[in-house]
Amino acid sequence: MTTTRTSPLAGERAAGVDAELLEVRDLSVEFTGADGRPVRAVRDVSFTLRRGETLAIVGESGSGKSTTAFAAARMLPGTGRVTGGSVLLDGEDLVAADERHLRTVRGARIGMIFQDPMTSLNPVLTAGRHLDEVLRAHGYGDRAARRARAAELLGLVGIPDPERRLDDHPHRFSGGQRQRILIAMALAGEPDVLIADEPTTALDATVQDQILNLLTDLNRRTGTALVLISHNMGVVARTCARVLVMYGGSVVEDGPTDRVLTRPRHPYTAGLLAAVPRLSAPSGTRLTGIPGSPPDPARPTEGCAFAERCAFAEDGCRTARPRLVTLDDGVRAACPPAAARTEPLSGPAAPERIDRPTPGGTVLAAENIRKVYRGRGLTGRTKGFTALDGVSLTLAAGETLGIVGESGSGKSTLARVLAHAHPSDGGTLRLRGQDITRPSRTELREVRRAVQMVFQDPYASLNPRMTVGQVVAEPLISLGLGDRRAREQRVAELLRQVGLDPSAAGRHPRAFSGGQRQRIGIARALAPEPTVLICDEPVSALDVSLQAGIVNLLGDLQRDLGLALVFIAHDLAVVRQVSHRIAVMHNGRIVETGSADEVCENPRDPYTRALLAAAPEPVPVAPGVVV
């Protein structure tokens, strides 16, 4: 590294230089599982990346996307190790390189951006120090020069007033701004490749939009090649030229984005696409999930990993591992039957309307709810924060009320107040007309039986010490429902109802995947047979196929049990499909309510409009895919 580089971004590198910058060949990665058995997270993955290129890696949770990306920079977490293959950066093998050399590669040649902006920044270092550290590590100028450059970088990623904000600590920045700081850090070393691991998953649509714009803009202007990992097809569609689809640790399809997304060759890709909710789909349509569950990387199959869930599987699929073969138009797919297929995969079945009951009378009503969080800090005298400011809403029996809004707009707070997890600081709550704002002991019991909640974070809301059976039985015990045997049966029944095997009762939450954990949470909420179920972002942490599964499950439960649902999400598309009505929240207020289709098609509030505009559409409307 020389220290003479002074230009802001090393000139505008010409995009599209046709040299192979990063070449991954037959990369395999193993972890050691908790039981000591090897977990084959990545199997024989190959791809190439040219200068200035944009490549997306998609696939459901656990398919090995992050692992592949980490392995490329030799940054495998925990017990991870590369068991085969090579990673060539400009022809130089990083798998064989030593730590010292790798340090000169990291940051300077390969930059990385991580998923969670909240935890990826060091809480005790200022934004300026974060950037300064990176610049220092790559030998950039003296202190003053570094500071100037840091401000410049912050400006570049669109943080207003960068000079001043250099001295702020991460907690003073919003989630989106933190993600920008991370991007600025990744750019500080002027890398040739930028690997972004789900950079927007934690962000809401408007911020996501800004970040993606920033990334594409950078790629265009500086020629930095971009590897974007995501399970959001919309994000992929608008950002990357090429896409790599992973399943069970292997690449199943690979090709130009527009082709792959409009005409998927691999049934898995098709399934994934079908599961994506469309903003254009009207309220009350069913999402199409992929049936079955993802493979267990600790027990690799002999044949195609997807064969078990594949509607087109042939006998050969189960015995021999399919290899990537080039089909026409530079699309490659690891699916022998696909080569033979000529007509496009029939995508998702035509979106099915849910036959849902018409909503009945009002069960839950909130008027003018206020919630103020008391200040924290050492003095406890900080001014309170008004998280809810005069929120009113009603919920009818059998109705789904969708609530959308950006992060921090007060959605969870509202959910908690409605479920009596927190007391409100003002306003009234009525359950079937009865005032339950300050319930007595017996009233509270009634409320608990009637109103239940599914939490945002499926893991954090399950006591790690309890078995699933204990978790689900907990409300029954607390509310004194049934004797032991009855409870046992009820737990089994509930687990079955949410699509889990009753034998799951004996295991601990950590033995389950995210989607399964969310189901456990739902089973618990259903235990006292509530009439109102409040779902706080039940699907935001899940990938599209799991999301489809959960959303459909909720729909079925509503139909069967006549539940009134409050469905909170920040993805308008999902909300539109599941809700009868939508309420849009902004800064602790409801800015707009209306029927789902009405709000999405004729938004009145400017904020709703911005939200709609920012939502990425996964696929350019193409022939063959019925919308």
């Binding site: 939490f455 954090a460 399950l462 059976g469 045997r485 618990r524």
Partner: protein, 294 residues
């Protein structure tokens, strides 16, 4: 309480499904099965068993004075030799372990228990919290050994003051930790979830918060045991330890001091025992800590 039909009675406790199913091993047990945990456990067991079976392992009464005076290892059936009063050193070390264990095994849990009770009190109400915090401050503010001198002067010599002093010193250590743990766990989502599920706050405390807040306490327990051994030694040194001639590791060590240069074996026995015990405990604490952090 008059219910006769077994089906109608409210049966608290764990869901039977969990019992029948092949439940995952408790994390503490898992921690103890790691190589680190096993080594630690083995070392602790070595010392503890040495103490427990002291009467079998040493044929001598630890207070019997043979008339030999300070004797080298191997003299006349004394594998470690005898101390300056002619008492069998092996016996004194083994019985010393026994005494120490008797003291710390009572004192540390007692202190832990009291600390936890205080912490629970603190969790009950902000006013109680302030009061309890001040109590902890107060205990912490008094230098431990000064406290030892005062307590022994009031109560007279013996095990009781040693136990009390150690327990007293441990109260704020455990209390502060549990209080912090409860405050953290109370805000956790699963507790909110349990409350929404109808769990009363006392049940939430017992079933949800405490089991999760207790993790650091288990590690602390191992650490505190080592500190207690140390404190016992210091008290012996100041002459306010367990009543002589009953041996403790600290008192045997203290007696060996004049002979440190000439007869190092005198000090070596108790020193080795203490070190092995502390090493074992620290390995166990480490293993637990790792497992809990996962």
């Amino acid at each position: 309480m008059t219910t006769t039909t077994p089906t109608a009675g409210a049966v608290p406790g764990t869901a039977p499904a969990a019992r029948k199913a092949p439940a995952r091993r408790h994390p503490y047990l898992a921690a103890l099965r790691t190589p680190r945990g096993l080594t630690g456990l083995a070392l602790v067991a070595l010392i503890v068993l040495g103490g427990l079976f002291a009467p079998l392992l040493s044929g001598h009464d630890p207070t019997a004075q043979s008339g030999l005076g300070l004797a080298a290892p191997g003299t006349a059936g004394h594998p470690l030799g005898t101390d300056d009063l002619g008492r069998d050193l092996l016996g004194r070390v083994l019985y010393g372990i026994r005494t120490d264990l008797g003291v710390i095994a009572l004192a540390v849990p007692l202190g832990a228990l009291l600390g936890c009770l205080f912490a629970l009190l603190a969790a009950a109400h902000p006013v109680a919290d302030t009061a309890v915090q001040r109590v902890f401050d107060l205990i912490l503010a008094f230098p431990g050994l000064i406290l030892a001198l005062a307590v022994t002067a009031v109560l007279g010599p013996g095990r009781l003051p040693v136990i009390l002093v150690i327990a007293l010193a441990e109260i704020p250590v455990f209390g502060r930790q549990l209080r912090g743990g409860i405050l953290v766990q109370r805000e956790r989502e699963y507790v909110v979830a349990a409350r929404v599920g109808g769990t009363s706050s006392s049940r939430a405390l017992v079933r949800h918060i405490l089991p999760n807040a207790a993790d650091p306490l288990v590690v602390q327990l191992a650490l505190s045991l080592t500190v207690a051994v140390f404190l016992e030694g210091a008290m012996s040194f100041l002459g306010v330890g367990v009543r002589p001639p009953e041996p403790t590791l600290g008192s045997v060590l203290n007696q060996s001091m004049p002979y440190l240069a000439d007869a190092p074996q005198f000090a070596a026995g108790p020193l080795l025992a203490v070190t092995v015990l502390v090493l074992g405990l620290s390995l166990v604490a480490d293993a637990l800590n790792r497992e809990i952090r996962r």
